[in-house]
Symmetry: C2
Subunit: 299 residues, 2 copies
């Protein structure tokens, strides 16, 4: 945003400002004060954008066409519009303002479109793969509060893509795989077998994909494992563990979900290395990672 | 926009600002400098909005659903999204920045969704009604430049709704009515018979209509007659003549199209008053208005 007014003359600036004030004034009779606040702020920022870039009428038409196409393609899950919000960092900014930093509590990141309720429950040491293909990965950690005290019985939802970069819900066969929930123990500890996360692109066959291409951006996400941790008295944590060393970390995550504190060392194990729990790995390579979760109190 | 940062702490503000800068940086490799400029500005203003109102996750979901519905309903003419832009004043602001004030040249306003090319040509004194119902209205004026010199041969496109508030293209029967074009004479003069404009609402049966209702706004437009005037060497003028005395002027135009300089006195004539051109009005009431058009030079 510039400090100088973008209009060519004081007269012109006055006309443009006057229009903004007329629109804001039109919300004066709104009975819902929050809606009035949101619409007034939206109006000011939308107009500031149009004024600053001196949006041409052809660009305006392009924007309308783009949104119409995205809306038509959005489907029941509104995925193309969620994606647009994601690649503009708007989803992540919404996460940020709703999950303000609290001491050293684990940072939040985007939920993404692939969380579903009713995941299968697994015990400590259980396997969430459910037939999904990929390199086995032992995941362990603790759930504590910001004083370091264990949080027992926290519900830990975990979900991830298979080695082809697809979540179970992206297959048409109704499979449930690569997702589960478990609970932290009395000492706050938890552990399970998952899959080492792989890299995959966000869907890029629609208008958002064309936008990414036009601006020279990759649709690729940094490798990650999704978490949602809930426990009474604590702020629900939606986050992801990212894979240290993924080259995409340097190139950038397409939805701006990465926080340095969430990048974790996945220690790859040679074939034949015994599993930590005595699991028979049939000579496969496997990996392991520690992800300690620190919950902020409910505000 | 507030001067104080909306975040609760300097740390939190730094995170939120950092995210904005990451998203802006993601456009650094965009080969098209204008696209980079537009996307960077859009990102800054979109994030400033989210940060300022501390948009909740539920509000974010509501916004996504709203845009998805508007996109689905937009149709080939993208009308629901144009309407959204209209009622937020974004269409009018786009007009404003693309038609900067120039001396006392006639001010521009929104085109609206009902302009079509290939309107019928009429001579001076001809009638554009084409069977559309309404009170006859004699319209006359001149087309000049800002020095007052006549602009001969300017193409004047005129279109308007009938007394039911509908444009010809809103009927399914393919009628062409309430629209025409004519040319200014050697002295810049023009005149024609049209209809006295009536009031009508913008379409309000979709999500934009629900938004207007939620914020306590009327969908009604101020009574108006559309003009588009083109002449070589001059900036194309898209404008409207508004009816002085329309109560909606006080209540507000739903698309913010009104400029004081465009409000014109329509002089209503008693039944039996002879027409200015000797037209036989069969004892009907009629009206008359003068609309002098001043064109800015092509920049």
């Amino acid at each position: 945003m510039t400090d100088r007014d973008p209009a060519a003359s004081a007269d012109q600036a006055a006309r443009e400002h006057g229009l903004v004030e007329s629109v804001v004034a039109s919300f004066a009779n709104c009975a819902d004060p929050r809606l009035r606040e949101v619409m007034s702020s939206l109006t000011r920022h939308l107009h500031a954008f149009i004024r600053e870039v001196r949006l041409t009428e052809e660009e305006w038409r392009t924007a309308i066409r783009f949104l119409a196409e995205a809306g038509r393609l959005a489907g029941d899950e509104h995925q193309e519009l969620v994606l647009l919000s994601d690649v503009l960092g708007a989803s992540m900014q919404t996460v940020a303002v709703n999950n303000e930093a609290y001491e050293h509590a684990t940072e939040a990141t985007v939920l993404g479109p692939f969380f579903v309720t009713d995941s299968p429950g697994i015990p400590h040491g259980g396997d969430l793969a459910g037939g999904a293909a990929g390199t086995p990965c032992w995941v362990e950690g603790t759930v504590t509060d910001t004083d370091g005290s264990p949080v027992a019985g926290a519900r830990i939802e975990v979900w991830e893509a298979d080695e082809d970069g697809l979540y179970d819900v992206q297959y048409a066969d109704g499979r449930v795989a690569g997702r589960a929930h478990l609970y932290s123990g009395d000492d706050g500890g938890y552990c399970f077998w998952g899959l080492k996360p792989g890299s995959y692109p966000v869907p890029h066959d629609g208008p958002v994909g064309r936008l990414l291409e036009a601006v020279g951006r990759s649709p690729q996400r940094v490798e990650h494992l999704h978490y949602m941790v809930t426990a009474p008295g604590y702020r629900t944590l939606v986050t992801q563990a990212f894979v240290e060393g993924d080259p995409q970390l340097r190139l950038g995550d397409s939805v701006f979900g990465v926080k340095d504190s969430l990048v974790k060392r996945f220690e790859d194990q040679r074939p034949g290395t015994p599993g930590p729990d005595g699991r028979e790995l049939d000579g496969q390579a496997w990996s392991r990672v520690r992800f300690d979760v620190v919950l902020a109190p409910q505000p």
